[in-house]
Symmetry: C2
Subunit: 337 residues, 2 copies
């Protein structure tokens, strides 16, 4: 059986309190005693029991992460950012991934039980009252790629600016009839991107008719179907902006299978810069999101908020609540460049 703190104490000839102090190096311990304890730890291959430690200290040293259960490299990058930040701070990572759409939010139970000291929620369907309920237990929460307002910190990509830059770029090519393939509303991304597009068009005295805005769901094949719909229009669009790369790639495929060329007949651009986008032909012009950074910052912020319960609110308000991380234009071939 695994050694306990009692075994170590006996082996080193000290009390368990001293062993604990050495291991957590909080109080002063004499060098000689410390050495003896450390030696005993080594010899017995002692590892403090995480439950006992958590129960006694009321800290888990664990960061919780809730992320949509979507097979998307996008989310994978966020996880890496969160994990690196957590590791950097000496925290473990407990991950729960959430089916989408979620009718029950049982995953939150995980975090209501004192399992985690703080948590990061990524692009997940949550209700404000649930978040506040957890925050009220003293567990700081930070959102990534999602915002619910109140005093919950959020790290988002600057979708609006990114989409503006893309739209300006398309107009720079001389395109006037643009179309948009929308994503779902599970995060406000798609709407923000559309809004930016419409704003830029309006600034140039242009607009996009409703028949050129078709729904999609961000997932495989939905861009294909949406593009087929656009190809029915009496007047074809000159350029199609898809709310993410996956749909943009599918749209390109639909165009090509219908005997038209990208970008000569119809230009196509996306959003996200997934790895595949540089491999297809023509390579996809898109917007790169700071995905890894989003996870990293969100985790760092969440961990920074850990502390005495009384101060949660105060600490929350010390920094700007919403951080918009820059999204940058990646110009390749599919736009006509």
């Amino acid at each position: 059986m695994a050694a306990t703190i009692f075994d170590v104490a006996k082996h080193a000839g000290v009390s368990i309190g001293t062993v604990s102090r050495v291991l957590n190096n909080k109080d002063r311990v004499s060098p000689a005693t410390r050495e003896r304890v450390l030696k005993a730890v080594r010899e017995l291959d002692y590892h403090a029991n995480a439950f006992a430690r958590g129960l006694a200290s009321q800290e888990s040293n664990t960061l919780g992460l809730v992320i949509p259960q979507v097979n998307d490299p996008f989310f994978f990058q966020i996880v890496r950012g969160v994990e690196d930040a957590a590791t950097d701070e000496g925290y473990s990572l407990l991950i729960a991934s959430q089916p989408r759409p979620a009718h029950e939010h049982r995953y939150l139970d995980l975090f209501r039980r004192g399992n985690v000291d703080a948590m990061v929620l990524v692009a997940i369907d949550v209700y404000l009252h649930e978040i506040q309920q957890i925050a009220a237990r003293g567990v700081p929460i930070v959102l990534a790629q999602q915002d619910v307002g109140k005093n919950i910190p959020a790290f988002l990509a600057d979708n609006y600016s990114g989409s503006r830059a893309m739209t300006e770029h398309l107009l720079g090519h001389g395109y006037r009839r643009l179309a948009y393939i929308a994503g779902t509303n599970y995060t406000p991304d798609s709407r923000e991107r559309l809004r930016a597009m419409q704003d830029v068009l309006a600034e140039h005295g242009l607009s996009m008719g409703p028949e050129y805005i078709v729904p999609g769901d961000y997932l495989q094949d939905s861009g294909y179907r949406a593009m087929l719909e656009l190809l029915q229009r009496p007047v074809l669009p000159e350029a199609v902006f898809a709310a993410n790369d996956q749909m943009a790639l599918d749209a390109m495929r639909a165009i090509q299978e219908n005997g038209l060329r990208v970008p000569e007949d119809i230009a196509v651009v996306g959003f996200d810069d997934i790895p595949m986008s540089s491999y297809v032909s023509p390579a996809l012009t898109t917007i790169q999101q700071p995905v890894y950074e989003m996870g990293w910052h969100a985790a760092k912020r969440a961990i920074a908020m850990i502390g005495p319960e009384e101060n949660v609110e105060e600490r929350t308000l010390a920094s700007p609540r919403v951080m918009l991380l820059p999204a940058s234009l990646v110009v390749r071939k599919s736009c006509g460049c």
Copy 2:
């Protein structure tokens, strides 16, 4: 502050033992009492503290997963399989991802502390003695995409059969001069695939000279460099088998950038069937691995092994130790079909 079991007990007018019994429904409790307790739980929004429960019961209800820190959809799919299986069994998932190559194995500490009831290790650099050390603590371990022998269960893709099928397919096209772009040795995959290839060639009275076997590392760009090397050969290969799709795609790029055509001048095939492979032109012929299933089975097996410590070995031996999951040929265009 969060309600404890004492609050619930007082509120329901029973002892904490009874509350515990209701919540874990182990022993008989009268329906009336049960109802009163449940009502109190609801009213106080009680959630049992995970640490206290873990400490008292000596179970965490958590499955640990260690996975390489590689940005690869391949591993992402394994995580999903593991997670689905864990959720299915009512287990939480604690994930640690391991930089590769790993000189320290500190992530194992996480699991030496009683944090998890069982663990799954995916394609990770581990030493047998470390695994046995953990197993000796009564924590069952299952490997995925890796095998270290002894009595540690392992779930692997059937690399040998998959590679055989691919090689036969290439020979069926009439190709006789094959080349191989190898992966790293961090898992035995690459060697197994090469071995199968050589076996099939030998069975047909053929062989592959050492100058047609070039090293790669599975990662971005390594296929490109390897292919440039192959293009230096006085006699070019007719078909190139890369140990994974990523390298195969890079190899295709190298060929095309040198003014040759795939598959007319040189055929290229890969292994893994990553999403990108169906998007490139020509679409890549490859071998699909049962990645999700590997994770799913490994997790199910690990959880099944949880139980009284005395029986770990016995339970381990009850089922076949190594499970080879089928890898199937996906024929597209890059092979010449």
